[in-house]
């Protein structure tokens, strides 16, 4: 995906952009990010966004990243996704929809 298309996608997910700024700096986000490479997170976030148009799941994750007990809630949400078969394939890996949203929310590609 080129930058122009990415910007179009980001515009389509306007609500998320604002929330993601704060999400990326939340305590939960920092614990998830740890020492991970920001460039790789961005790539995975872009990959997730490129395959998705519905921002509802992403909005929910962004809100969770700012909430108390975020990790506990995210963990439950991941398990619920797998139970319900809500899977996405990122770089060949089958992950939950929630994990895809976490990459998108944490990525720098949408700010």
């Amino acid at each position: 995906m080129d930058r122009r298309h990415l910007l179009q996608l980001i515009l389509a997910l306007g609500t998320t952009i604002v929330l993601s700024d704060t999400a990326a700096s939340s305590a939960c986000a920092k614990s998830l990010l740890g020492d991970l490479d920001a460039g790789l997170i961005e790539e995975l976030g872009r990959e997730y966004l490129a395959g998705r148009r519905d921002s509802a799941a992403l909005d929910a994750v962004v809100k969770l990243l700012n909430a108390d007990h975020a990790l506990i809630e995210l963990r439950k949400k991941v398990q619920a996704d797998f139970t319900a078969g809500r899977l996405v394939n990122l770089s060949g890996w089958f992950v939950s929809e929630t994990e895809g949203c976490v990459f998108a929310a944490l990525s720098r590609c949408d700010v």
């Binding site: 991941v78 139970t83 394939n89 990122l90 770089s91 060949g92 089958f94 976490v102 990459f103």
Partner: protein, 503 residues
């Protein structure tokens, strides 16, 4: 006794009670078993005691591999490289992996066309046990834990959709322990009731005029001599391709070939294939490395586990048999793979996961378009028509791969056991397949002539004294390596023949 057919006087007529064409694992076991019952047996083996390029070239033919929506592959060399034409047959290069077919593999599944054996797994169990004893491996039980000595570590009983499937290795395999396999061959060759003719190629099965009885076999040697063999009972044990080839080529009484009442002969050919893409097929397992030891397939001294889709999940998905085999450890990286793994483990509150290479296996279900046929205008050195093998996976089986893998991914995630990596698209499945040396189904077993070539006793439908031994009789082939099952069937056939010949 080992004899050389090239040294017989040209035009010899040989007579014996039972003649077995093919001196591979099934043929040699059957010969021993009948010999032990005091029955005189002759084995006709095409090759000598070691592989020979000229003899191997008799296997040459044409082959393609394909499936709907996938590019077709040409694999002519497979017909030569996947089997061995000398005493001991393909057992000379067999890796020794043993597993029985699963109970569901024997059953008729409404959602799998032409599925089901006329024999149940329960009825096969005593013969599987005898095959295990012969190969000096533990008997397979319904309880994988008691066999492996450890619980399946990935799901640890928390999944009803995937389950442990034990596998183990025998020493009696040519690729691993030549000495043990030599002893296996010698047990037949030195039997006082067994005569093995080497360099004796079966080229035609002669039938009575009414087509209901074999009257003799034509044997041709590469030195130009021809002989005939007359017996009370005839058994074809030449391997999953040659059995069908000889029955198709012996068409002077039954124009479509012997046992081909319903156009099944040569059809429903099945093989086993591993599915993987280099460095892109793996599992990330949130378990300690030591706890994963029962999955290790390289430990030849004890049974190991592969992960298989359960009967319930096959019914739910309307899928086919499917396994995941976990292999070597992947060294940690700093790339997108590591990032995906790290997020998953952190969200689960786990320590770092263990990444392992893996491969998948998908059942090759019976498909009439997966077919062995003859090329009448293309003859080998013995003037036998060469074979053409068009090996085809059907749309339903290929289509079931994605939902089955998704179910596996869901179970891994739901139980916080890990993640699975597979980047392929449906159109990549055939190109990602590596074929095993397993040839099954081309003379399939069925309760009646309408649905197959041989009956439940491996007797060719409509012919009173002609049997087929080996994996060509498998109506479905599951995912288990076929040798244990073909040996179990050889024990079963020997019991049947002992009883029939005594009567």
């Amino acid at each position: 006794m080992l004899l050389d057919a090239e040294e017989l006087t040209d035009g010899s007529m040989l007579e014996v009670k039972v003649v077995i064409a093919g001196g591979g694992m099934a043929g040699l076991l059957l010969a021993r078993q009948l010999g032990d019952a005091g029955i005189d047996v002759m084995v006709l083996e095409s090759g000598g005691q070691a592989q020979d390029a000229r003899v191997q070239s008799l296997y040459a033919g044409k082959m393609t591999l394909g499936g709907p929506g996938n590019p077709e592959r040409t694999l002519d060399d497979y017909l030569i490289s996947s089997r061995v034409r000398c005493l001991g047959g393909s057992g000379n290069v067999w890796g020794g992996k043993c597993a029985p077919l699963d109970p569901l593999d024997f059953q008729r599944r409404d959602w799998v066309a032409h599925s089901g054996w006329p024999v149940t797994r329960a009825a096969m169990q005593p013969f599987y046990d005898r095959a295990c004893d012969l190969l000096e491996i533990p008997r397979f039980t319904a309880d994988a834990k008691s066999m492996v000595g450890a619980e399946e570590p990935v799901f640890a009983g928390r999944s009803t959709r995937f389950t442990a499937r034990p596998r183990c290795y025998t020493r009696a395999s040519g690729a691993i322990d030549g000495g043990s396999y030599h002893a296996y061959k010698q047990a037949a060759a030195q039997h006082e009731r067994v005569r093995i003719y080497l360099k004796a190629n079966l080229t035609r099965i002669r039938l009575s005029e009414d087509g209901q009885r074999v009257t003799s076999l034509e044997v041709r040697c590469l030195n130009g001599r021809t002989h005939r063999v007359r017996a009370d009972t005839y058994v074809m044990a030449m391997g999953g391709i040659e059995n069908a080839r000889l029955l198709l080529a012996s068409n002077d009484v039954h124009r479509n070939g012997i046992g081909n009442h319903s156009d099944w002969l040569g059809r429903a050919f099945q093989g086993h294939a591993t599915i993987e893409r280099d460095a892109q097929t793996s599992l990330m397992l949130m378990r300690s490395a030591t706890s994963l030891a029962p999955l290790d397939p390289t430990s030849r001294s004890k049974p190991h586990i592969v992960l298989g889709v359960s009967d319930a999940a096959q019914r739910e998905i309307k899928g086919v048999n499917f396994t995941v085999t976990v292999t070597g450890r992947v060294e940690p990286t700093r790339d997108a793979n590591a990032t995906v793994q790290s997020l998953a483990t952190r969200l689960a509150g786990q320590a770092a996961g263990e990444r392992r290479e893996a491969y998948f296996m998908l059942e090759h279900t019976p498909n009439r378009d997966s077919r062995l046929s003859l090329m009448p205008g293309d003859l080998d050195e013995l003037r036998m028509p060469r074979v053409r093998l068009d090996m085809r996976f059907d749309a339903a089986a290929l289509k079931s791969f994605a939902p089955t893998l998704a179910a596996f991914a869901s179970e891994l995630g739901r139980s916080e056991a890990g993640r699975v990596q597979w980047p392929g698209e449906p159109a990549d499945l055939i190109s990602a397949m590596s074929l095993s040396r397993h040839h099954m189904g081309a003379t399939r077993m069925a309760g009646n002539a309408k649905d197959g070539v041989v009956d439940e006793h491996c007797l060719v439908h409509g012919v009173r004294n002609l049997y087929v031994a080996g994996s060509s009789v498998f109506p479905t082939s599951g995912i288990a390596n076929p040798t244990l099952t073909l040996l179990a069937l050889a024990f079963r056939l020997s019991d049947h023949l002992r009883s029939r010949l005594r009567a």
